[in-house]
Amino acid sequence: MGRTLAEKVWDDHVVRRAEGEPDLLFIDLHLLHEVTSPQAFDGLRQAGRPVRRLDLTIATEDHNTPTLDIDKPIADPVSRAQLETLRKNCADFGVRLHPLGDVEQGVVHVVGPQLGLTQPGTTVVCGDSHTSTHGAFGALAFGIGTSQVEHVLATQTLPMARPRTMAITVEGELPDSVTAKDLILAIIARIGTGGGQGYILEYRGSAIEKLSMEARMTICNMSIEAGARAGMIAPDRTTFDYLRGRDHAPQGEDWDAAVAYWETLRTDDDAVFDAEVLIDAAELAPFVTWGTNPGQGAPLSASVPDPASYEDASERFAAEKALEYMGLTAGQPLREIGVDTVFVGSCTNGRIEDLRNAASVLEGRKVADGVRMLVVPGSVRVALQAVEEGLDKVFTAAGAEWRHAGCSMCLGMNPDQLAPGERSASTSNRNFEGRQGKGGRTHLVSPQVAAATAVLGHLASPADLSDTRTPAGVR
């Protein structure tokens, strides 16, 4: 019987397989950041163990880093201490680090792909659940806890029970107004936050094949929000073209050998998935969340659902709690929900295409009075590219704040936070209670919806903006 993409990559990394034991998998790339690594390095020190493969390990600073005044000492002493701990650990053990101020610094899941380190058929881990992002390249990539970070540092392997596989097939044409973010939000709403639990998802079908690498990363990034261990997309010409010429992409004969291998990384026609979900791309529309988990979403044209409409008692209770926390009432049209803050950035939507998409909506328009809009590039490289294209000017001319790279308001570990009761439209990945700041309320949206929402001050799509652009020549 044929094998799925996930099974092929898995099988190629089995170091040891024994009856009654989890497989021992080799890890090709280990990404580190300041938040989930300190206790792992401490563990190595206590046991007197070195980092086994420094050449497969790389670190950056992202979760705590400020997005203003990055040339000054970090104001929060606890954040500063955590960054200093990472610097000391990397220096002591010899790990390559891109700290704040370095041209390769940025959100760890933006940095890996742009350096060309994330490659098809590799295993990628990081102490961060959004490691699933790297699956867009046909890599098997998953988030791990700190004990596993220590395990990989010490052994370059992980014992793992083999997950099941689920195909998410998206056929047809996505309507013009529908982005990868809308698609993944719709998928999570359909299968639920636990729907992918125990599975590696493979996104496939004609609508997926047409997506750019950046859009594919947005999709795979949020696999974890459906509860999945990982999400993958088979590598193809789009993947190879993205990788060619990047710093760490294979060169010369190695490139040819790599492509020959990468081309084998497709699910065989006779392979069988443990579960399958079929989505009709043409039926999708811009999608936003109304609740406090990423599965509580609906098309922008819909209204806040009535909790009483849920048959499942636990879902009904969750919806009641969510509406209470979000300060919403059943039946309220989603388009009428006003926001205080718009955040464009994160490992979900902080890459150059995302910034281009937001800027294309904002160009010639203004952020509504009383709305604060933060644009936080996913990495320094993304920021430099945006500046080269003049996108920063588009954002600042519209009244948005152009910031330095990092995780920023996605999780508010740095000063970029919502105040209690404040409401945001955010291109990030989690609308959990307090995620963006204590008492903050989050609606997850695409970059285009974020920009349109900033202009109108309420949840909106670019189609709602027909007459808000300042005509050429008028200031």
Binding site: R16, A47, D76, G127, G145, S147
Partner: protein
């Protein structure tokens, strides 16, 4: 890791689904660089409400958390497990756990037990009606016991063996050094490297 064989204690019924790790331990606590001192951050936002179940005096000293489905979703932060343990929890029962949280819990000796929602409902009813009711989680027998409740649970034999013996995963893996070295020697040259080794 501390070995886990069986534990008996009073329970905290938490009637919430999708308890994400941001609720279990908010992000600002993640700046700490130790594995301890997280107890005050556990469910920090919800504990501001004096009626929140964890704040009730009759729940003081309870060691078994009985939660709704999809417990531990979201962030991979192991701090969520440390916070539960620092607070005093020995076991968590739910009908479904997020994968990463479950993995983290079993690596730290916090036993996460999957039971049918119908059994969880009975445990909720029992422990809400009688806060002194004790719940036993027996890993040797793979069984949860409480007044009127006897429920078997599954846990793969390998994970169970490691928990019962409090074994260190890294030491176990390093026993396979020859296999790891052989795999490394056979890796293709086109695989990416972060630095020239």
């Amino acid at each position: 890791m501390e070995a886990f064989t069986a534990h008996t204690g009073r329970a905290v019924p938490l009637r919430r689904s999708n308890v994400d790790t941001d609720q279990i331990i908010p992000a600002h606590w993640l700046k700490k660089v130790t594995r301890d001192g997280f107890e005050d951050g556990l469910f920090e936002a919800w504990r501001k409400d004096e009626n929140f179940v964890l704040n009730r005096p009759e729940r003081s000293g309870a060691t078994v958390l009985v939660a709704g489905p999809d417990f531990g979703t979201g962030s991979s932060r192991e701090h969520a497990v440390w916070a539960l343990q620092n607070f005093g929890f020995k076991a968590v029962i739910s009908s479904r756990f997020a994968d990463i949280f479950r993995g983290n819990s079993l690596k730290n000796g916090l036993l996460t037990v999957v039971l049918d929602q119908e059994v969880v409902d009975r445990l909720w009813e029992l422990t809400e009606a009688d806060p002194t009711a004790e719940v036993t989680v027996d890993l040797e027998k793979r069984q949860v016991l409480a007044a009127g409740v006897t429920a078997d649970f599954e846990l793969d034999e390998n994970a169970r063996w490691r928990l019962l013996n409090g074994l260190d995963d890294i030491s176990l893996t390093l026993q396979n050094e020859a296999d790891i070295a052989a795999y490394e020697a056979a890796r293709p040259s086109f695989k990416p490297q972060t630095i020239q080794a």
